[in-house]
Symmetry: C3
Subunit: 213 residues, 3 copies
């Protein structure tokens, strides 16, 4: 129940931060609502399309469309309020990352997926809404470039999937995975932990083939 409420808050928060990204690119309300919807629900939709789980969550529960598009649209009127709460949104976003990762793992496990695939399903659910948002904003996805974000999702998912295997049905597993994930994400923000970067700059002068760029 608490998880349900937290999930809805986190969905709205992701729609709101996506709306700000839309605003930075001077999009109109159509762009704002679409981006809010895609950022919040795109990760779970991509997971379900890849796993062939139909119907998608927002098809089953169309109010999710209203929630995310509404939160995004409200942001256009309340951006000054949102701006002052930037810190709060980072927290809510971290909660969302962890919750959506776990719900993605759970959804895959229920569908009979192997442990590896379940962790991947959690990663897609938690992080790929943001990837789709960045693609629509014509940016290289931020999670490919900075901070401990996807790594937190993989860690959370791994703890959850292994835990569920060892202690089926123990809700302590959910709580443990969520706590570790949330702590990691918070520490990563505070201490600016990064995943190592790969820098490669040698384009051989006259080179060629399609797959080489």
């Amino acid at each position: 129940m608490l998880v349900q409420v937290l999930s809805l808050i986190a969905l709205a928060a992701q729609a709101i931060t996506a709306a700000l990204a839309a605003g930075r690119r001077n999009m109109d309300w159509v762009g704002v609502c679409t981006l809010g919807f895609v950022a919040a629900l795109g990760g779970g939709s991509l997971r379900d399309v890849l796993l062939g789980h139909y119907p998608l969550s927002w098809v089953r529960e169309p109010y999710l469309l209203g929630l995310t598009a509404g939160a995004a649209l409200a942001t256009t009127f309340l951006s000054h309020v949102v701006k002052r709460m930037a810190e709060l949104f980072l927290w809510i976003d971290a909660v969302g990352l962890v919750l959506f990762t776990i719900s993605g793992c759970e959804s895959a496990l229920l569908g009979g997926a192997t442990p590896t695939i379940s962790v991947v399903a959690g990663l897609i659910t938690g992080c790929f809404g943001g990837v789709l948002r960045d693609v629509l904003c014509n940016e290289i996805p931020l999670i490919f470039r900075s901070e401990l974000y996807a790594a937190v999702s993989i860690l959370t998912g791994t703890i959850y999937v292994v835990g569920r295997h060892l202690y089926p049905g123990a809700s302590a597993v959910t709580l443990g995975a969520a706590t570790v994930g949330l702590a990691c994400r918070m520490l990563a923000i505070r201490y600016r932990w990064q995943v190592p970067t790969f820098r490669y700059s040698d384009d051989p002068p006259g080179s060629g083939g399609p797959r080489r760029d």
Copy 2:
């Protein structure tokens, strides 16, 4: 029957305008054909993938591939003709927007979707071929930034879905929704109606988290 012919003309027109977009980016014939195909058939394909309706239209009717790729390729030889008919293409595009929206709604309703989801299905069918085209052209999707386009689709879809609910089987509903949609789109072009834009430019200096851009 007339609807069928108009649909094919509109599909070809969308492939042709996508081919021009490819030409502006100096793509080769592969890019031209792919972009034509994606712009014309991508919206319906995305709808069917999201709703889990298989097989997709162009898998059932492969001649659609030939039609769209052919129209796109022909454009490379006839771009001077196409250029002189820019006005005409705006009209055909508007007809396509309205027809594809209605066919998307209808397809979702037949699949048992709720009214809200049916309107969304119409929106995806009518507008998201263009979104995919713009993503492949490495642009922020145009419908997120300008003019009354997606809004016309939502209006048309809403009239159609509500009308079908009140008067099942009345073909006057289709005609009414199409007429209103077409009129709106034409007025929007003539009077340059816009959806309000959201401008937001405050990136707090040292800020951080992945979801914040």
Copy 3:
């Protein structure tokens, strides 16, 4: 058996070249692994999602995730080695293009697809991993702009599908299609064969509608 081994090598090679693309954009390890995975397995996944064939290959065989992500990650440590083998990678990439095209055609034929759709399925399998990689790198897909790459895939697929129709079960068909495809690709690289380009630059000054760009 040989085909199986060659396929795995080619998958790894595509992940490696994608990792270099990630490195050129200073992505972190998350980006490197994701891009490697998407480039290597994205084409086949897109084909299966479009055709509704579930489960996807990497869901059935999760070691493919490890192979591609591992190859991509290893590249960050061994980029100097990879660089010296650029020529070799072009060869392996060409083998992959041909093999994945044929496996895509075969997969579609087994699923009961028509010949046209089977050729398209081969094209998507062989080339669209690279398209998805380029979209995530925020580039116009390279195969839309340069060299004989998608065209080789279409040629290979057509020979294979026609051959299989005429001589069902003859493994000479696979060998023939692969040989012709590989030869074409190699000649295209050596002699810099290109698909004709479409250049179009007339944006009428005050123009408008969403589909016109």
